[in-house]
């Protein structure tokens, strides 16, 4: 095998770190499940996303070694969030602005087994 000394690029992680991170991830999963049972209205999704992002950060920093990564690779990965934000921002904000025109005023009735009824409603609308 190789006798080269240029292998300083391997950074084995300690088992303690790995296990601690795993424990934290499981803990956060439990937290998010428990949190979901409280009805917090509009905040709910943001709290859920915050917890998910915490977990994501743990995975990224420890499991994916983002801490030891070259700055350029970190930039590459985080640039994706910028472009994702552009995409989501542009599409969502536009959709919100025109959603009034999007939704039909009266949709067809819920019962799928009553097509006759649906036809009647449609006729009535016209």
């Amino acid at each position: 095998m190789s006798d080269h000394s240029d292998h300083g690029f391997a950074h084995p992680q300690s088992i303690t770190t790995l296990l601690t991170v795993f424990a934290a991830l499981v803990f956060l999963t439990i937290v998010t499940v428990v949190q979901a049972s409280f009805h917090l209205g509009n905040w709910e999704i943001w709290i859920a996303l915050f917890i998910a992002s915490l977990k994501a950060a743990l995975v990224l920093y420890f499991f994916m070694h983002l801490g030891h990564e070259k700055p350029f690779n970190i930039l590459v990965f985080f640039s994706t969030l910028f472009f994702l934000a552009l995409f989501l921002g542009g599409t969502l904000s536009d959709r919100n602005a025109y959603r009034n025109q999007l939704e039909p005023d009266i949709d067809e009735p819920y019962r799928s087994e009553a097509p006759a009824e649906a036809a009647e409603t449609a006729a009535a609308m016209e």
Partner: protein, 578 residues
């Protein structure tokens, strides 16, 4: 065989090969040695053959379309439905199979590692697989053509694409696969340029073609996945009616357009940015003068790549987008003109007081400057909301994007092909024939598309099989121009084919370029460079002198002989005769 390297006065160069066996075209033979090659140059050649075939197919469809439009009711017996399929196939083949892979995948594959001074791209197997993905995607496209055809336009807009009987699923799956091919090519180039630059090749010593390719790759990697998921959802919409894009199931067609143009607007820059790179090389080399404003051109490529993600909405001004969004996208659209104009001004300034030789590549480059400027300026009309409402979906749009895509990308692609043809094949082409082809292409192109601006402004909608008689003379003019253009491209093709068996042996540096590919022999050896070359300024022409005896440009001083003093810690280069 003799090489420029061997005859360089007082020059010793480590690049170059000693025997004909090391020429990449001849170092191994047989069909299998091509099909399973990992050599980026051979893969580039295979791509070239593939995309030129697609170009021929798409071009013939265009000829049929133009012939049909000679008479108001249609000059042929083609039905209106068949006409819809014709223009869809023309568009889809040209966009997905030809223009997007044309410069990056064909010329880029060949040139990027050589210009960079590397032995190959970073992931040769990924490179080969991306070629086969292209082939697979092409098969699906042709399959769709043979089965039920396709009549949605190349954009696959819902709801039509979810209600038509034609093979939308098959064609979109083809485009999906082609997207992966494009992503892998881009990924490969980004990694290659980042990690495989030899000593001395700093970012600002890279030829501008590499900057342009790098910017293109960024777009390919960032935008194409969104196309992938869009097409996947469209397939699901067709198969399972998922109700995301299809209004019949409470989906939203405008959302489809957002998804689609988030990719497809940047894709416009995938098409045009590498063309900018080629023009930067062509104008500098054939003016024998260093490029003017190197950093501005380099940065403007990156700026264009990033700005291209901000302006997708300008394709959707009339789609039902909210008026606030329309205004924002319109304003952002104008920012794109700044980096584009920077490039044009720098190219013109490069030619100023240069020793311009009107070779075939230079003729194409000049044609590009003229055509691209018209294409770019007419884009401003379409980015302005009030005029766009009048011009949207008329022939004005058709003329505009043909000036950019065809007059810009295709003309520069043909120019680049002539420029690097001696390097790729080792043969010189007939210079007079090449110049004549450039002239015919230039005249034919303008004759085709200038009348279309007038047609559009007078209200002729695009994609119509028939028209009112008052438009006839402009349509006929346009058709005659199209046939002229076709003949011009045919002449160009014949000149290149003719050179393959009758051309004289190309010297290493027939044009007097200073970038690294002109330091290898023509054609380059299998491994490009025996040792990592040491790199100087790519646009420093003071050392490049014409040697009449060999009809070659030689490097009079030794800008590149500075072999690194410290022993390279590498294994002896694999493939070398060590």
């Amino acid at each position: 065989m003799t090489t420029g390297a061997a005859t360089a006065p007082g020059g010793v160069r480590d690049a170059g090969f000693v025997s004909d066996n090391e020429n990449y075209l001849k170092n191994s033979s047989g069909v299998l040695s091509w099909m399973f090659t990992l050599d980026h140059k051979r893969i580039g050649i295979m791509y070239l053959v593939g995309i030129l075939t697609s170009f021929l197919g798409g071009g013939l469809l265009a000829m049929v379309i133009r012939y049909h439009l000679m008479a108001p009711g249609g000059a042929t017996t083609i039905s209106n439905d068949a006409y819809n399929q014709l223009f869809t196939l023309h568009g889809a083949i040209m966009v997905f199979l030809f223009i997007i892979p044309s410069i990056p995948a064909a010329l880029g594959n060949f040139l990027v590692p050589v210009m960079l001074g590397a032995k190959d791209v970073a992931f040769p197997r990924l490179n080969l697989s991306s070629f086969y993905l292209w082939v697979g995607g092409a098969i699906f496209f042709v399959g769709a053509l043979l089965m039920n055809g396709l009549d949605t336009g190349w954009t696959f807009y819902t709801p039509y694409s979810t209600s038509t009987d034609t093979s939308v699923v098959m064609a979109t799956f083809g485009a999906f696969i082609l997207g992966f091919s494009s992503i892998f090519t881009g990924l490969n180039f980004i990694v290659t340029i980042n990690t495989m630059r030899p000593p001395g090749m700093t970012w600002f010593r890279m030829p501008l073609f590499l900057w342009a390719t790098y910017a293109t790759s960024i777009i390919q990697v960032l935008a194409t996945p969104v196309l992938g998921i869009t097409l996947l959802l469209l397939i699901a919409e067709n198969v399972m009616h998922i109700g995301i894009f299809d209004p019949e199931f409470n989906g939203d067609p405008v959302t489809y357009q957002h998804f689609f143009w988030f990719y497809s607007h940047p894709a416009v820059y995938i098409m045009i940015l590498p063309a900018f790179g080629i023009i930067s090389e062509l104008i500098s080399v054939h003016s024998h003068k260093g490029i003017f404003g190197y950093r501005f051109i380099a940065y403007s490529s990156i700026a264009l790549a990033l700005l291209s993600f901000l302006v997708w909405g300008h394709h959707m001004f009339t789609s039902g987008m909210s008026s606030v969004t329309v205004v924002i996208f319109s304003a952002l659209t104008f920012t794109v003109s700044v980096p584009s104009a920077i490039k044009v001004f720098n190219w013109v300034a490069t030619m100023y007081k240069g020793a311009i030789s009107l070779t075939t590549p230079m003729c194409y480059a000049l044609a590009f400057l003229f055509l691209f400027t018209i294409g770019g300026l007419t884009g401003l009309f379409l980015g302005t909301i009030s005029t766009d409402l009048h011009l949207h979906d008329t022939y004005f749009v058709v003329a505009h994007f043909h000036y950019v895509m065809m007059g810009g990308t295709v003309v520069s692609f043909v120019g680049g092909l002539f420029h690097w043809w001696p390097k790729m094949t080792g043969k010189m082409f007939n210079e007079a024939g090449g110049r004549i082809s450039a002239l015919i292409v230039f005249v034919g192109f303008n004759l085709t598309f200038l009348p279309q601006f007038l047609l559009g402004n007078q209200g002729m909608p695009r994609r119509y099989a028939t028209y009112d008689p008052e438009f006839q003379w402009l349509h006929q003019l346009s058709s005659i121009g199209a046939f002229t253009l076709g003949i011009g491209l045919l002449v160009a093709g014949l000149v290149l084919l003719h050179s393959l068996y009758a051309g004289r042996q190309a010297p290493a540096n027939p044009w007097g370029g200073a970038t690294l590919e002109w330091h290898c022999t023509s054609p380059p050896p299998f491994y490009n460079f025996k040792h990592a070359p040491v790199v100087g300024d790519p646009y420093e022409f003071a050392n490049v002198h014409y040697d009449e005896a060999t009809d070659n440009y030689v490097f009079t001083e030794l800008p590149r002989t500075l072999v690194p003093e410290e022993p390279v810690k590498t294994p002896t280069p694999a493939g070398g005769q060590s």
